[in-house]
Symmetry: C2
Subunit: 418 residues, 2 copies
Amino acid sequence: MARIVMKFGGTSMAGIERIRNVANRVKHEVELGNEVAVVVSAMSGETDRLVNFCREASPLYDPREYDVVVASGEQVTSGLLAIVLQSLGVKARSWLGWQLPIRTSDAHASARIETINSEAIGKAMAAGEVAVIPGFQGMTGDDRVTTLGRGGSDTSAVAVAAAMKADRCDIYTDVDGVYTTDPRIVPKARKLAKVTYEEMLELASVGAKVLQTRSVGLAMKEKVRLQVLSSFDQPTDNPTPGTMIVGEEEIEGTTMERQLITGIAYDKNETKVTLTAVPDRPGAVASIFAPLADANINVDMIVQNVAHDTGSTDVTFTVPTAELARSLDVLERERGTIGYEKLIHDTNVAKISVVGVGMRSHAGVASKMFDALAARGINVLAITTSEIKVSVLINEDYTELAVRVLHTAYGLDAEDAA
Amino acid sequence: MARIVMKFGGTSMAGIERIRNVANRVKHEVELGNEVAVVVSAMSGETDRLVNFCREASPLYDPREYDVVVASGEQVTSGLLAIVLQSLGVKARSWLGWQLPIRTSDAHASARIETINSEAIGKAMAAGEVAVIPGFQGMTGDDRVTTLGRGGSDTSAVAVAAAMKADRCDIYTDVDGVYTTDPRIVPKARKLAKVTYEEMLELASVGAKVLQTRSVGLAMKEKVRLQVLSSFDQPTDNPTPGTMIVGEEEIEGTTMERQLITGIAYDKNETKVTLTAVPDRPGAVASIFAPLADANINVDMIVQNVAHDTGSTDVTFTVPTAELARSLDVLERERGTIGYEKLIHDTNVAKISVVGVGMRSHAGVASKMFDALAARGINVLAITTSEIKVSVLINEDYTELAVRVLHTAYGLDAEDAA
């Protein structure tokens, strides 16, 4: 017997027929003797509908009332799943955020879970009743409804799993696992059986959108074993395993067979910004990045070109394209302080990252990357590295070529692996 | 300054533009210096959508989960109205059933309000904040979501008004008040400025569907002054008064000017049932009505024909047509016990009622009714009377004619009144 948390996203909950599929999947886990809690999203499209109501009501809506409105989507699906489970002979009841309660910060519309009182559901689950919990929602200390921000249901599921000390948290979604890279670009991409939390964070934050980054971070902190698997085209009683996301220690025993590199990610949503002829004096760099940080703009790759003995230098960095307009505003306002000559930007760039905990113990990962790209004439505009990742910025036109070249270079292609 | 409760139905809340109209109406009351609580229904069509989800999920749905699902409709509109009010510069917040809380019985899907804790909203309202309260919903003693049954938002509004000791409870709806009879049948029908609770109960229960009967009963018990008025085609700042529903004492001073009869109602949803040749012995009637009562079937008009010296009698009564099938089942099952000869029913009947507290002090109301109907050749099949009502059962084909004839006979036509 295990205690498991199952989470189903909006496409899995879109309409009663799909909810019936979900219920059959849950029923199977119950019949295996497991104690089960289910965390559900709103029907796909429903949250958008509710958000649009709020925007139409007022572009400057009160986030506290927004939360009251949008939390209703998950309330509906949790009640419906409980009804369908009962109709299949499975004991079940819904537990709304305020009923458990799930206490959160008071940052409405993007609240953080603080505590979950799992006493009542623990008793119910031990008595064989499935606990159906709406994702995405919680309650502040003074009993107002909160939501966790888009994609927050993954985080709800992980938090419930942590509070329940669950053996596993299964995230059912519309992909069947985490791949070595985007299969639309590389048909030879392989599904990974296991990745570490750290790898998943790097893969997710650079473009492999399977799980909400926050939920992976929470799972890592709380040591919740996650599984990503498909809720579609699956036999109810024996679903194809997905990808387990676990601590490094759980993978260590199999290190020998592991690839040096776990996956290749890409991100086309960054823009390169260059300030030319910045005076080469102490404090110059700080005068660029401090005001950007104050404006809550997330600067990623930074390159300071070699000064050409002119007393000035070019500074290049990337910002999310969605924040480009705000970034340019800030930099133009600060022009007098920084003292640059020209402000140039280029949205036609992409970040390509190779990720893998294996690279910690192996030298030469970065040089293999540069060699492979150079062999195809792909110019590297900037570089960043972390313990388990090397990222390069390239011309966006070469994105797919670069991903394919690197996937082969690191031996990730399915045929090679066979 | 007054403390008022305003209630808006589903058609008034159907979409943001209509909610904006509602908000402007509320704003006007606030600008007059009133303390205001608003009770809202779900957008029209939304409750049906949610109910259908539940039915599709399982025809035998758990009413506790049904309540979780359908209560969400009012949650959405209460949040949206709060947002729109704020956008108009009116301080406002939503208070969900569990936040106040509104405690109800645990008869899920048709719960009764037991207590409303109005402390928090009382403070908020005194500080100039509009309290927006979703109608139709509450919470049991063990913190489960309940709903009050269809049309329950009227009852919520009256209960909130009682708890707040409000000076007035305005029910905004799609009609502009209570009429002497159905204006679709009698173009000369007049809007009543005031009716008593008792009259409203009789008018509502016999077909003039303006307010939920339960809400009028509660208003009478709690002495809440109700007003029914239109939420459409109204100037925001000076709406046409509707009909006040108040205690008899508030009308007494004006008795001299009052009509003997307040209104004429009709009901086509009753069916006449006749049992022939029932043995004329003690207990025979009880053997008919006891099993119907046990089956929760509401028997209305009862006529026992004179026994023809045959030792047997015919018994005629009416039941709601919606309960006819169940009634016939019960009576056929009890045939041996009752010992009747034939079981006949006729759905082609209508009940016509004249209603007015004025008839208490005046004889001759019933005979005027019989005379007026006889003059047009309308046959009376059964009669019931109460202190403030006389009802007759007639052939349904004559419904409109009977209503018009009586409306004129009692001097209710608009031209007569002018």
